[in-house]
């Protein structure tokens, strides 16, 4: 038991240094704020830098034309690279997202055993793998087997990079869904897989979408594995079995050329890559995470004001 004297002591203690505590509170707040600034400044600096250096290159032709001959007066555009990147993102998501989400469901719902722990361990190892190694692996496995560089090979490599990210984030976000919702589902006589796919998955969709977008952003900027798989090209892709171009590859090539116009184009391509990743991010969030009617309503309100 606390004695009366002790209690009085405690109470006194709680009233000490109120001023100092308030100051400390403010100091911590400032520190947190400064840290946020430090994190945001590079982001904005990159955006501004990329845009100001690349703006001169931006034009309709830049977006739609094939690259011109190196050093010629007409620098051409980055059309094939944009096309290639969009196809790569689409195809690798098509391969990576379903497998990754299913794997995450397995780890979260059925992975509480030795087998699950093993899978989890190797998944984490895979997440830390240097991507160039994945590129070489795909080169040996697919490019050499089929005898040509291809978008398929590139998508395969990129989906391997996506997998561990999606699996882990899916697992973590499914685990956050309270057991009470699952129990409510079971109590309604709903089968386990249906409870997982309807109730649990929709409860976890925020984390799920974030994980998928993270992985998309990650692969959109990958360069090394592409060198070994799609090689690079200055023509639009006609079939998925041949070499192709992608924005990171094009940026790398352009920036290493000794012509100012090429370097400016490189900046422009980087800007386009950022815009693509950003718009996928915002678009997907809008589609999957808005509350019904809410976002639309906001737009309506804005519209009625103007």
């Amino acid at each position: 038991m606390i004695t009366v004297e002790q209690r009085t002591e405690f109470r006194k203690h709680f009233r000490y240094n109120v001023g100092r505590r308030l100051v400390l509170d403010k100091v911590v707040k400032c520190l947190v704020f400064i840290c946020v600034l430090v994190a945001i400044v590079p982001l904005i600096a990159i955006l501004v830098n990329v845009f100001s250096n690349g703006a001169a290159a931006l034009s309709w032709n830049f977006l739609t034309q094939v690259p011109g001959a190196v050093g010629s007066d007409d620098p051409g555009g980055i059309g094939p690279a944009i096309q290639g990147t969009l196809i790569l993102i689409g195809l690798s998501s098509l391969i990576g997202v379903p497998i990754g989400v299913m794997g995450g469901i397995f780890l979260s719902e059925y992975g509480n055993n030795r087998y699950g722990r093993t899978v989890r361990f190797f998944n984490d190892v895979l997440a830390e793998f240097p991507t160039i190694v994945i590129g070489v692996f795909t080169f040996v496995l697919i490019v050499l087997t089929f005898g040509d560089f291809s978008i398929w090979a590139g998508s395969f490599a990129l989906s391997i990079i996506m997998l561990p990210i999606i699996m882990r984030t899916t697992e973590e976000s499914l685990k956050l869904v309270p057991v009470t919702y699952r129990e409510a589902g079971y109590a309604l006589g709903i089968r386990r897989w249906k409870v997982v796919f309807t109730i649990v998955l929709s409860g976890a969709r925020g984390g799920l979408v974030t994980g998928i977008l993270l992985s998309v952003a990650r692969i959109a900027g990958e360069t090394a594995p592409l060198v070994f798989t799609i090689l690079g090209s200055s023509q639009f892709v006609q079939d998925l079995g041949g070499p192709a171009d992608a924005l990171p590859l094009r940026i790398w090539r352009l920036s290493s050329l000794p012509y100012d116009s090429a370097v400016t184009q490189g900046w422009g391509a980087a800007f386009i890559l950022i815009i693509i990743v950003l718009s996928i991010n915002i678009g997907v969030r809008y589609l999957f995470l808005r509350k019904k009617g809410q976002t639309l309503l906001k737009f309506k309100k804005l519209g009625s004001v103007s």
């Binding site: 309270p178 009470t180 919702y181 129990e183 409510a184 589902g185 079971y186 109590a187 309604l188 006589g189 709903i190 089968r191 249906k194 309807t198 109730i199 929709s202 409860g203 969709r205 509350k291 019904k292």
Partner: protein
């Protein structure tokens, strides 16, 4: 002390041969994580009556309730022995699919847990939809009927599309009851359904139980002894995993045969 307790005969005072028992639990023992929570409990639940399970925290009421619709086996490291007969058929027999039986035995949980991403309508409808009912007209009718039975219809009929989470705590709990009723169960298990609610919401739920009793076999776990006297016809008192005494509510509260029951219902411990 335990010895004398278990020796007290567990007799249903009013038992006559023609009484219909909907649900019969025989020698249920259950444990989880090595803790024995329910010890050899046998109980018979009458059709169209409310049976309350009372007892201090940790006495095994909830675990026992969860044995009745095979929810207990979903708990980690759970073990169970005994039989539960629904209309004479053993739920734990190998021939029986636990999922089909959970559709016959609805459950309402202690904390309101409407599905967070679903609207009020979908919360009630999902038991039907996910169990394969496709006819929109039937679903509409069931949703309305169940919300009426849960006396929530008048409060939500205008905003069925709103998220279930937008309701107040008491309304959410009634929504959960409507959701449980939608799959047309025969038995309704309620695990302290009003413990997280204020007195007015509690009263609404209790009134509703009186209505539902006309059609369902209801088993309710409660901490609140007044609630047990208000809503139930029969009461079982559990203590340390044993069923100490089971009989008509009136008798349990006014004329308990067991010393511990007497102490508990008089509020001397709990």
């Amino acid at each position: 002390m335990m010895e004398t307790m278990t020796k007290v005969p567990l007799k249903d005072n009013n038992s006559t041969e023609d009484v219909k028992y909907k649900l019969i639990a025989e020698n249920i023992s259950a444990s989880y994580d090595g803790i024995v929570a329910v010890k050899n409990v046998s109980m018979k639940f009458r059709d169209r009556a409310v049976t309350a399970l009372i007892g201090p925290s940790g006495c095994g009421k909830t675990t026992f309730l969860r044995c009745l619709n095979r929810m207990h086996e979903l708990t980690k490291n759970a073990t169970l022995t005994g039989k539960v007969l629904l209309d004479g058929e053993d739920l734990y027999s190998n021939k029986v699919d636990p999922i089909i039986n959970r559709r016959k035995i609805g459950m309402v949980f202690q904390k309101p847990n409407p599905f967070p991403t679903m609207s009020i309508y979908d919360n009630v409808a999902c038991g039907l939809k996910l169990n394969g009912v496709k006819d929109k007209k039937i679903i509409d009718e069931v949703v309305e009927g169940c919300l009426k039975m849960a006396s929530l219809w008048n409060e939500v009929k205008g905003d069925l599309k709103k998220p279930g989470m937008s309701l107040s705590g008491g309304q959410q709990q009634r929504l959960c009851i409507a959701r449980a009723l939608a799959i047309q169960p025969e038995v309704l298990l309620m695990d302290e359904p009003a413990s997280a609610l204020d007195p007015i919401a509690t009263q609404k739920i209790e009134e509703m139980i009186q209505e539902l009793k006309k059609e369902y076999t209801i088993i309710i776990v409660t901490h609140n002894m007044q609630q047990a006297t208000r809503v139930s016809d029969y009461t079982g008192f559990m203590y340390l995993g044993d069923l100490v005494e089971f009989g008509e509510t009136k008798q349990i509260f006014e004329n308990p045969r067991n010393e511990i029951t007497a102490k508990y219902v008089q509020g001397q411990f709990g």
